[in-house]
Symmetry: C2
Subunit: 409 residues, 2 copies
């Protein structure tokens, strides 16, 4: 990755991703391996007027050592100082950039119960922090840069160096950093997504019915007042930002108890360093009442057992089968990319911003209106080349939404 | 560095350095560049029964970006979460390993006032933490591993790779990792240092008079009840540990107001990424009343102005000119090595453990007994090949302590 592209990418994230304000603090969650990129981000942020930059480093090889050797009791603990770290900055109105670049198979030999404990302890401790981000109180952006282990998993036949270079190339392409003016390219991309939002919000569908040859046959009810979002999001005081780069999806929330039928996964899900693949879920009145998985059954079980809300859905997202990331025809083993190559749903917590006036409702009122809550939010893919989605409006009109894997309009 | 030596070094630090207890937590302060070594330390610690390992990563290139670009006000702040991090673990009785491996010239272009502010904010926030370590409430150990920038400064004529390899070789030599049984080698080293301690503690000197051809002519009074320490130290409940690896020094504390005369530095001092070199200090009744420096005058001024105690001495340490590190005849630009190649003194805070019964005294009583206090503790070197030190006992007897740079006995 040459320095010029690195700086262009950093600038896109600071300007368009988190849309940094003067005197705002930026918190970067970074693998130690991505240090050159995080330094470029930090320098760009200071030059654009950041008050301060805090880098929270992590090292997944140390994480693996800890999961392998530490006594089990430590995984139920989450240190107060680490909670205070996030709470301090989220309360100050900081912007958050998170670099997602894990080795997809890092934790495959770790007993899933240890990971589930740590995941739950972290989600519980950071609940307020995560709720603030998921309701867009702060601007935030998830991005990726290649790391050696991840690149080698995506391109197993290339040398490490070549795999990293190829992954950089792909990332630059799908985040439009390879265009002359990435900020302008994103503005035009946002307008394209807006047309889809206008169609979906205009029809105000009551249900979507999914069907494909893998065996998916699922009806998802959408609550009164649901809003389709995509492209950019806004903080309550109107500051625009892009929560995921890349992003190709439009998404809303399901009615918590309104999901019925079967769904079959179309891509593996990388959950905390474990792959879950070839899974089928059966829903009755919103709840997953049965599931199977060819790979990672235990991990899926732990995920669904995190809490009551983990076995209900929290997101409905539409991505055409012919999307730039999908057409690259590469499995990234990284949700940030794979979710933007495929229609998907999410286990767990819903984004309250997808419900009109949600900022005026209490947690109880949100639950009554069908907004699912959970410590987890995990996307999984179901899009295929033959996916059909039929929408039914509140007036009973049936309108094709997807035909042959792509938007029908 | 081959894996076997890395593991041997890690084991020496865990067993002999911090002398880890079962169920103790280990906190490692590590540059991100030293990740392979810190991972080896963590794995060794878990295998030796650590309850948990916490790695506090730092990246000095990011530190430099921050010093260069952040608004000045942020340097007066020290985040509460970071204070809580250290206080949590020090109160839990954790062991601390700190990896000292800075680029000696990292911050040479940074305005020293910015560094001084950050240094003071950090020292103030971490006062209790540092006091606990300096009074040996917790076991701790400072060690080094080569980093590219540091190795290139020590061996400017070698390639980066060769410089790192050469520095590893030297470190393994001076920390005795190249011996068949490093733990045994350290036991025998501790016994050698014990002979020097016996001589010095046996004579209970009232003053030491330093003289050499550089212009040093200094009298240092030692308080009633001072204790010479060296090699290993002990926690209040008797757990032995080695605070510095390598260590060749024996040391005690001066009577705060009993230092008079002139001292000329014999090696540069690397203070927060700035070199201070060729400096002369004039003392009257313990206080530095005048100073000059060929290099880094402003940095020295900021150091001495940190607080009242910074311009008094806190440590008197003796190292023969013919010591293993000194004989390598290499300037390491790293206090951990350079202080163990030369007699030295320290600006600022004294180690209370060098005074008998100090654990029973209040801070006020310690001050009355001549124990200096400060936010800083910075060693500087004065040893030369012609250094003479003459001791005077409390009975007025004059006994040579150093002749021609080495112990006289």
């Amino acid at each position: 990755m040459n320095t010029q592209l690195l700086e262009k990418y950093a600038r896109l994230i600071v300007k368009t991703g988190i849309n940094l304000e003067k005197n705002q603090t930026l918190v970067i969650n970074s693998p130690i391996e991505s240090a050159p990129f995080s330094r470029a981000l930090a320098e760009t942020a200071y030059k654009e007027g950041a008050r301060d930059v805090v880098i929270v480093w992590r090292d997944e090889l140390f994480t693996k050592i800890r999961y392998t050797h530490a006594p089990e009791e430590v995984f139920s603990e989450y240190p107060d100082w680490q909670k205070e770290l996030y709470m301090t900055y989220v309360r100050q109105g900081a912007a958050f950039v998170s670099i997602a670049a894990s080795d997809p198979e890092l934790l495959k030999d770790i007993e899933p119960g240890r990971i589930a404990k740590a995941q739950k302890a972290g989600s519980t401790a950071l609940r307020e922090y995560r709720e603030r981000l998921m309701s867009n109180q702060n601007t935030w952006c998830v991005v990726s840069v290649p790391t050696a282990a991840w690149a080698k998993k995506v391109f197993p036949d290339l040398s490490e160096e070549a795999a990293i270079a190829r992954l950089w190339e792909l990332i630059c392409q799908v985040v439009r950093v390879d265009t002359p003016d990435p900020v302008a390219a994103w503005n035009s991309h946002k307008q394209n997504l807006q047309q889809r939002l206008d169609f979906l919000n205009g029809h105000n569908f009551k249900t979507l019915h999914y069907k494909n040859s893998l065996g998916t046959d699922l009806t998802v009810e959408l609550p009164e007042g649901h809003i389709w979002l995509g492209g950019s999001e806004h903080t309550p005081d109107g500051r625009e930002f892009i929560a995921n780069m890349p992003t190709e999806e439009v998404f809303t929330l399901p009615q918590r108890t309104g999901v019925n039928g079967k769904v079959v996964s179309s891509k593996p899900l990388n959950y905390n360093g474990n792959l879950i693949d070839g899974f089928m879920l059966t829903f009755t009145d919103g709840k997953i009442v049965d599931f199977t998985a060819k790979t990672g059954y235990e991990s899926l079980k732990h995920l669904l057992e995190t809490d009551e809300g983990a076995s209900y859905l929290g997101e409905v997202a539409l991505v055409p089968f012919d999307s730039p990331i999908s057409n690259a025809n590469i499995l990234f083993y990284n949700t940030l990319f794979d979710e933007n190559a495929s229609c998907h749903l999410a286990f767990g917590k819903a984004y309250p911003v997808c419900l009109a006036n949600s900022e005026n409702y209490t947690a109880e009122e949100l639950a009554q209106k069908g907004v699912n809550d959970s410590l987890v939010h995990e996307d999984f893919m179901l899009g295929t080349a033959d996916l059909e989605i039929l929408g039914t409006t509140r007036q009973g009109q049936q309108i094709p939404v997807f035909k042959n894997g792509n938007f029908a309009f």
